[in-house]
């Protein structure tokens, strides 16, 4: 039989009712219900995935995607003492940032928030990130994936620059590279020798999950 608290957690989350979602999360934490913390964490992660699919299908909009990310973050704060790793197991580390010269950050921040909730440890380098900082972070954190956000044609060459530098420092085989952002496409990914292009955050996370599973 489905657990009432978990059902309520899911439905309040999907109605974007933060107050109700957090109330149920607290019930679970206090042990007032039979549901375990792990089950509640998984429900939040599954609900977030549903939100992502609705966004991909054009049924939901950016503001809803962002707010759902915020609800998940707060719910995980309550549910998971390990926080940042939303799902009950860690999928490994990803390093992400917006390339040098580009200050657009809404998209990157959404990827960060959803990746954390999906179970990745995320090293967020922020915006206007120079190639050297990407390389340094790859060396230091040994991530499953390096994600670069780039919305401007004028900064596309930064993508190639970072990938070239990875090659010259013999790091290219050790990390997968994924790119996303307004001015990009599959073709740009091919041109700069990235491993993947993500048209949206959810596709990006799906791709990185596959990489994590086969790592």
């Amino acid at each position: 039989m489905p657990n009432v608290a978990l059902e309520e957690l899911k439905s309040s989350f999907l109605s974007l009712d933060m107050e109700a979602t957090l109330r149920v999360a607290n019930t679970v934490i206090r042990g007032d219900d039979k549901a375990t913390v792990k089950e509640a964490v998984d429900v939040v992660a599954q609900s977030l995935e549903i939100v992502g699919k609705r966004f991909q299908a054009g049924e939901w909009y950016l503001a809803e995607l962002v707010y759902a990310g915020e609800i998940a973050k707060e719910a995980m704060n309550i549910l998971s003492p390990l926080m940042q790793t939303g799902s009950s197991q860690s999928l490994g580390t990803i390093v992400i940032g917006t390339v040098a010269g580009d200050l657009h950050d809404l998209g990157k921040n959404i990827v960060v928030s959803y990746a954390r909730s999906a179970g990745f440890r995320v090293v967020d380098l922020g915006v206007d990130v120079l190639a050297q900082r990407f390389i340094g972070a790859v060396k230091e954190h040994k991530p499953v994936a390096l994600g670069m956000s780039c919305l401007l044609t004028s900064t596309e060459r930064e993508l190639a620059g970072v990938i070239e530098e990875l090659k010259s420092q013999k790091l290219r085989d050790r990390v997968k590279v994924i790119i996303g952002g307004a001015a990009l496409s599959e073709k740009v990914a091919y041109d700069v020798s990235a491993d993947a292009f993500a048209p949206d955050a959810i596709t990006g996370i799906d791709i990185m999950k596959k990489w994590s599973a086969s790592a």
Partner: protein
């Protein structure tokens, strides 16, 4: 027909002698290329200890700021004239320079609304200025900020009026200088607060959000009024309501929060017997019918990288909106061949120009939009844009 008659005829959904061409020139790199000027290493100067402080006091003097900003757009209009455009957009803003430990260069600007603008260099060393973060992430901070900036808002309005008047006085005989009241109500409400915070407030503090929007609407109408004092019959306004795949906010929520504001804007412009053209980046198909409902006269941009197709837009809105756009600035206008530019111009004209109501332009500006490609665009418009347009 001269450039003004051409634009106004198109704005009336009638066929001019030829399709008008509008420039969106504003970036310093573009202006320098066209006018043969060298970049000034402003950022380098600012980083010298004593000179930096002197520059700060100079720039924060309204007279100097106005002069610098005016010169930039005078350069943009001069460039647009040189390339043979019928019109170009012009934008007036006000910022103050500040030392800022969070900014990579140790300096940033803030504007009267409560945004921080980062200071940087473009690829050629020109000064580049870009919105980077909000200053008012709570209700209390926002209230305190706007209360303290009353006199800065007044300065901004005064500057705007004199800026556009002066540009029209000095360049109006050669080009149609279309003033753009920017940023718009949506951006002025979310950017000083931050998108994530603003989204939270939509759900959690709807009364606060309403107050912010009402405040920004009143201010925006005053700003538009200032732009319109130049006497030009068309005025631009706008907000980036879209992103790559669709509107940022659900259309019925946009209607609920901003519908009345946008209607007020259109009514105000129409009372003054002007036309209102709205700029929005991103994928905005889902909002086109709203634009008609809100009383906009036209739209400018229609970003191809976000899937906007001129023919499809014309099909959806017919001649209820004038369309201004939309040559791609991610490849075509940066490194496309002359043949590709010509083909794109032909296609745009074929898709949208019959019956008037169409002005050709790029879909945005950025420092890599290439003057030679703009020149090709103008030439192709003259070659293929003569009315009547064939099939």
């Amino acid at each position: 027909m001269n450039f003004k008659e051409r634009i106004l005829t198109a704005m009336n959904h009638e066929e001019p002698d030829q399709v008008p061409v509008m420039g969106l020139i504003m970036d310093t790199a573009t202006v320098n290329h066209i006018l043969g000027k060298k970049p000034v290493d402003f950022v380098g100067m600012l980083q010298k200890p004593v000179v930096g402080t002197q520059i700060k006091s100079l720039l924060n003097t309204n007279r100097f700021w106005k002069r610098m900003y005016y010169d930039n757009f005078a350069g943009a209009l001069g460039s647009a004239i040189k390339l043979g455009f019928d019109a170009n957009w012009t934008i007036c803003t006000l910022m103050r320079l500040n030392r800022d430990s969070q900014a990579s260069l140790g300096w940033s600007w803030y504007d009267p609304y409560g945004r921080v603008w980062d200071l940087g260099r473009d690829a050629e060393g020109n000064l580049a200025v870009n919105y980077s973060r909000p200053l008012c992430d709570t209700e209390e901070k926002w209230e305190a900020w706007v209360a303290k900036r009353a006199s800065l808002f007044e300065t901004m309005i005064k500057n705007t009026a004199s800026f556009h008047k002066k540009l029209v006085e000095n360049y109006g005989a050669h080009i149609y200088s279309i003033g753009y009241a920017a940023p718009g109500i949506f951006e002025n409400s979310w950017q000083p607060i931050g998108f994530v915070n603003f989204t939270r407030f939509i759900y959690q503090k709807p009364e606060f959000v309403k107050r912010v929007i009402a405040f920004q609407t009143d201010l925006y109408i005053r700003n538009l009024d200032a732009v319109m004092q130049s006497g030009v019959e068309v005025v631009l306004g706008g907000d980036d309501l879209g992103q790559k795949t669709g509107p940022m906010v659900r259309p019925d929520v946009v209607e609920k929060l901003y519908g009345e504001s946008y209607r007020r804007v259109s009514d105000f412009v129409h009372q003054k017997k002007r036309k209102f053209v709205f700029h929005s980046c991103g994928n905005i198909y889902a909002l086109l019918d709203k634009f008609v409902e809100w009383g906009f006269d036209g739209i400018i941009t229609m970003e191809p990288t976000a899937g906007m197709d001129l023919g499809r837009v014309r099909e959806q809105v017919g001649h209820k909106l004038v369309l201004i756009g939309n040559l791609d600035v991610s490849y075509l206008m940066v490194s496309g061949t002359q043949q590709e530019v010509e083909d794109a111009v032909k296609k745009a004209i074929g898709d949208a120009a019959r019956g008037g109501g169409y002005i050709l332009s790029t879909s945005h500006s950025h420092p890599l939009v290439d003057p030679t490609r703009m020149q090709w665009m103008v030439e192709a418009a003259h070659k293929y844009g003569r009315y009547p347009i064939g099939n």
